[in-house]
Each structure stands twice: as structure tokens, then as C-alpha cells.
């Protein structure tokens, strides 16, 4: 599944330049260039070749780490990506860790206390998390925590404190979602016969919770977390831009605005690969945890 999907996505991304109205060269060439410049560019990019040949050249170059040259920034796209990717990974990783740890903790607390208030607050947050635009939440965070309270820097990517607000913004909806799934899953498992038996054996309830309930309840949580990878990436794209952090998202958005197509292609390809890799890791983690899935996938 992963390989055909990667190939189709790379074809779509490759075609971006060719689906543009007009000649791709018009988008690559500087204003006021002569016909000779044009011909050199056509030959350089191999645009006189059939599309399929061009595609294989392009993808072949990418496998060698050559994403082409940025038109506006005049630098190899591979360098730009290498420079921005770590920031995106750090933000995405932190947001992912935050929503899973905080979500599972909150969900466990709410399942053990069975508080209706906590439950309703969580539902409210899920609704808010899926409806409030991420960039607006980011702006509000800046207004409140960075300007009013001055706890964190407004923008940039210096030090850990600049990571707090972006992570909170992206993780906001995720925490509530993970918490709710954890809660429902825990309450489900608790009704199983084996849990009654464990209680009858006289095991302390803390041991039952951590040794016996949690491993079962984590299955749906891992599923939702694997799905969450894409959402976090989508959120990171917008949030990076608002907080003025370097990263793939802000690079991509700027490149689309400037019509810098080699950069657009490179960023989209990297983001797409990250989503697929995240989904794959989620699947593997699930299979590692659940023997039933291992059986059906054989």
C-alpha cells in the first residue's frame, strides 16, 4: 500500500508545474530573458523530453538528494529543506508528545473518577478543537500569553520557551480527543469479566489499572494517535506561519505565494512522506500491541 501511494503522490506533485496554465518555463524564467536563455533552461530542465522521461529524471534526482534549485531564494531546495525540517520535526514531535501524554493522563483521571463535569468539559474542548481555526487560536495565544502576560516570546524559534505556545495551539484539540478515547476505552475494558476476576483475587486497583486495564485501553488510543499525525502536521503548517517559526510549513506557504515551484514540490513531497511515515509507524505500533491485527494482516 505504502509504495503505490508514494508513487501516486510523487506523480501528482511532479505534475504541479506542468498543470499550470502556460509553459512551465514562464514560471521558471526571469523577466527580460533572451530566447537563448529560454532554450538553455528548456534543455537544463529537460523540458523537451516526454513527460514520463521528465518524471523519472526528477524522481531519480530526488533519490540522490537533488530537489532542484529555488527560483526566488537561489539556493538548492535540498538545503532549504534540510535547514527547515528539524524545526518542523521538533514542533510536531513536541505537539504529538504533549497531546498523547496529557491526553492519556486526563483520560485516565476522568475514567477513574467518573466525573461528569470533567467529561463535559472534555467534550466541549473537542468541539472547540475541531472548530476554532488554528491560526486564530495561535493569534489569541500570542495576544494573551505573550503580550498581556509576557510569559513567552511572541515569535521566533529561540530556546524551549518559544516552543510552548505553538505546541499548546496544535495540541489543544488533540489532548481532548485522546483523553476522551482513553476514557471510553478504559470504561469499556473495566466491564470485562477478567477485571472482575482480578478484583476478586484481591489485587490492588492501582495494579489492575496500570498492569491490566491500560494495555487493553491503549489500542484505540494508538489508532487515534496514528490518525492524529496528519492533523498535527496540518496544524503545524498554519501555526508555524503565525508564530513566524522557520519550518516546512512556513517555507511552503511563502513559496506558494512567490510561485517558487521547486520549493513547493520539495516541501509537499516531504510533508506527504511524513504523513505516510507517521501512519505506517502507527500501524506497526498497533500490530506490535495487538496480536489480533497481526493475524489478520498476515
Amino acid at each position: 500500500m505504502l509504495i503505490p501511494v508514494s508513487i501516486s503522490i510523487s506523480v501528482v506533485i511532479f505534475l504541479i508545474v506542468h498543470l499550470l496554465p502556460g509553459d512551465p518555463i514562464d514560471n521558471l524564467i526571469r523577466v527580460g530573458s533572451s530566447t537563448e536563455d529560454r532554450i538553455t533552461l528548456v534543455l537544463k530542465y529537460g523540458l523537451d523530453q516526454p513527460l514520463a522521461v521528465q518524471y523519472f529524471r526528477w524522481i531519480g534526482a530526488i533519490f540522490q538528494g537533488d530537489f532542484g534549485e529555488a527560483i526566488v531564494l537561489r539556493r538548492p531546495v535540498a538545503d532549504l529543506i534540510a535547514q527547515n525540517l528539524p524545526y518542523s520535526l521538533r514542533l510536531g514531535g513536541a505537539a504529538f508528545a504533549f497531546s498523547s501524554i496529557a491526553g492519556i493522563t486526563l483520560g485516565t483521571i476522568s475514567a477513574t473518577t467518573r466525573s461528569a463535569i470533567v467529561e463535559n468539559i472534555m467534550r466541549g474542548f473537542i468541539l472547540l478543537g475541531s472548530t476554532v481555526p488554528g491560526f486564530w487560536l495561535a493569534l489569541l495565544m500570542i495576544l494573551f500569553f505573550a503580550v498581556q502576560l509576557q510569559w513567552f516570546p511572541v515569535s521566533g524559534a529561540k530556546g524551549w520557551s518559544s516552543l510552548v505556545l505553538p505546541v499548546l495551539t496544535i495540541g489543544f484539540g488533540g489532548v481532548a480527543l485522546v483523553a476522551r478515547v482513553t476514557r471510553v476505552a478504559l470504561l469499556d475494558v473495566r466491564r470485562e469479566d477478567f477485571v472482575t476476576l482480578l478484583h476478586a483475587k484481591g489485587l490492588p486497583s492501582r495494579t489492575i489499572l496500570f498492569r491490566h486495564l491500560m494495555p487493553h485501553a491503549m489500542l484505540p488510543v494508538v489508532t487515534i494517535l496514528a490518525l492524529r499525525v496528519g492533523w498535527i502536521l496540518g496544524g503545524a503548517v498554519t501555526v508555524e506561519f503565525v508564530f513566524g517559526r522557520p519550518g516546512l510549513g512556513s517555507l511552503l506557504i511563502r513559496a506558494i505565494g512567490q510561485r517558487d515551484y521547486p520549493v513547493v514540490q520539495g516541501c509537499l513531497l516531504m510533508l506527504a512522506l511524513t504523513v505516510m511515515l507517521g501512519t505506517l509507524i502507527g500501524d506497526v505500533a498497533q500490530a506490535a500491541m495487538d496480536p489480533r491485527i497481526r493475524e489478520t494482516k498476515k
Binding site: 481555526p133 489569541l140 511552503l252 505565494g257
Partner: protein, 294 residues
């Protein structure tokens, strides 16, 4: 042991389950519906109810805080924020609704054809659908804005494509399920032509969940439109749009936060209202299971 997908579906479904909130829920749904109706009317009658011209600049009165006569203040060019928010409703609602209408039309056609004819066509369609399904909608939209270039038309198509997979999947699931019903079998045995079965029997029965999911998707579309507008990839100036308003507000974020806050509140309230109203519809039509199917 209940299945994993079932657990997740229950965790995500609805947002009220206690008896008290259920009683309150239908009120919420009605209020949300009323708000949406009001918003649509406001958008339609925008020229008659806006207190000021949305594009009129008054540079001497820029960044004025909310008060009289500018109820929601003015932006850095002295334009009335309230008038721009009202006109922004026109942009946002029409872009999102048009996009979802396109998405539903194409998605239903693809989904119905895939579900009815099956075979290689179905596998091909569903492969593409699954492919886009795993991607965040903003990424799909950005790919298409990158192809067509910034603007309202490309925003509309980008939103339509971002949600296409959802409607294709949903329609196909409905058709596949309905095809097994006895009344379809009878119709086939009576010698009905495929197009007759599809148009007269299958689609009318499949349409309710699609419409409700479409209604929810309009809310998502509004957020996506605002996001693209915020990046400067949607409506181009001077067309007022909620996203673009917030983008221009970031320049004077600390001086005049109201320029950003009011369109954001309107987006959030609108989308929450869409969700509450959609939830109410799902409950009233009793189609939660059919939506969960897909």
C-alpha cells in the same frame, strides 16, 4: 471485547449523553439553527444593513477601538470592522457552500458509480479516496492552490477537492449497503435498467446522510477558507473575507487586537453552530449509524 473502531466512534460521536445535556441539546440545536439562518440572511442583505461602506477608508480614524459609530472598531485603514465582517460572511458562506456543492455532486457520482458497478472501477476510485483520506485537508487544499494559483476560484476548488473523498466514501458505503436490500433485488428481477435503479431507488435512499455530512463539511470549509485567506492565498484585496481580515490585522496585532478578534469569533461561532445544528439533524433523522458505516 468491543472493536477498536467502535470504541473510537463512540468516543467521538455527539457531544451530549447525560439526560440533562440531552434536553438542553435540542435547545442548543435550535439556537444554532436560528443563528445560521440569521447569518445567511445577513449575508444576503449585506448592502442594506452594513452601517458603512466596507471599502471606504478613513485614514484619520484608523485603529479606532470598538464604540460609536464603529461598533466593532476600525482597522488600520480606518475601515469599519463590522461592515467588513458582514461582507466577509458573503465571501465565506458562498465560497464554502459552492465548494461543498461541487464536492457533493462529484463525490456522489463517483461513490454511486463505484458502489453500484464495483470491480476495477471501484478499486481505482477507492484507492484514490483512501490516498487523500489520510492527508490533512489543509495540505490537499494547498496542493491545489499551488497548481491553480491564489484567488477565490482556486480556493473554492481546493476546498471542493479537499472534501471529495469524504462524500465518495459515504455514498459508496450507502449504495453498497442498499444494494443488498430486498426491494432492490425485486426491482432488478422486474427488469429495471441500471440507471433507473440508481437514480430512482438507490440515490434517494442514500441522500440524507450525504446532505447532513455536507452541512457539517460547510463548517470545515469555512475554516479552510479562512485559513487560506489568512495565508493570502484566498480572496484578494479589496474583497473582504474573514481570513484576509485577520491576516491584515496581524500587522497591528498589539495596537488594535479587535481587528483580529471579531472575525475570529464569528468564524468560531459559525462553525460551532454548524456542528451543533448538524448534530441535531443527525439525531432527528436517526442516521448516526449510517454515517459511521463509511
Amino acid at each position: 471485547m468491543t472493536s477498536i473502531t467502535d470504541t473510537i466512534a463512540r468516543a467521538l460521536s455527539g457531544f451530549r449523553s447525560t439526560p440533562m445535556s440531552r434536553a438542553f441539546g435540542s435547545w442548543l440545536g435550535k439556537i444554532a439553527g436560528g443563528f445560521l439562518a440569521l447569518l445567511v440572511l445577513t449575508a444576503i442583505f449585506a448592502p442594506w444593513i452594513t452601517p458603512f461602506d466596507y471599502a471606504a477608508q478613513d485614514l484619520t480614524n484608523g485603529n479606532a477601538p470598538p464604540g460609536w459609530p464603529h461598533l466593532l472598531g476600525t482597522d488600520q485603514f480606518g475601515r469599519d470592522v463590522l461592515s467588513r465582517v458582514i461582507y466577509g460572511a458573503r465571501t465565506s458562506l458562498s465560497v464554502s457552500a459552492t465548494a461543498i456543492a461541487i464536492s457533493i455532486t462529484v463525490g456522489m457520482t463517483l461513490g454511486a458509480a463505484a458502489g453500484y458497478f464495483g470491480g476495477f472501477f471501484e478499486r481505482a476510485v477507492m484507492t484514490v479516496v483512501d490516498l487523500t483520506w489520510s492527508f490533512p485537508d489543509i495540505l490537499i487544499a494547498l496542493i491545489f492552490v499551488a497548481i491553480i494559483g491564489p484567488g477565490l476560484t482556486s480556493t473554492t476548488f481546493a476546498i471542493a477537492i479537499a472534501y471529495l473523498a469524504q462524500f465518495t466514501r459515504l455514498t459508496r458505503a450507502q449504495i453498497v449497503r442498499l444494494k443488498q436490500e430486498t426491494f432492490i433485488e425485486v426491482t432488478i428481477n422486474l427488469g429495471a435498467k441500471p440507471h433507473h435503479i440508481l437514480l430512482k431507488h438507490l440515490l434517494p435512499n442514500a441522500i440524507a446522510p450525504v446532505i447532513v455530512v455536507g452541512m457539517l463539511a460547510i463548517g470545515d470549509g469555512i475554516v479552510l477558507e479562512a485559513t487560506l485567506g489568512f495565508f493570502g492565498l484566498g480572496a484578494q484585496p479589496p474583497t473582504p473575507s474573514w481570513g484576509a481580515m485577520m491576516a491584515s490585522g496581524t500587522a497591528k496585532l498589539f495596537l488594535s487586537p479587535w481587528v483580529i478578534i471579531s472575525p475570529g469569533v464569528v468564524v468560531a461561532v459559525t462553525v460551532i453552530a454548524v456542528n451543533l445544528f448538524g448534530d441535531e439533524l443527525i439525531r432527528a433523522l436517526d442516521i448516526r449509524d449510517r454515517i459511521r458505516d463509511s
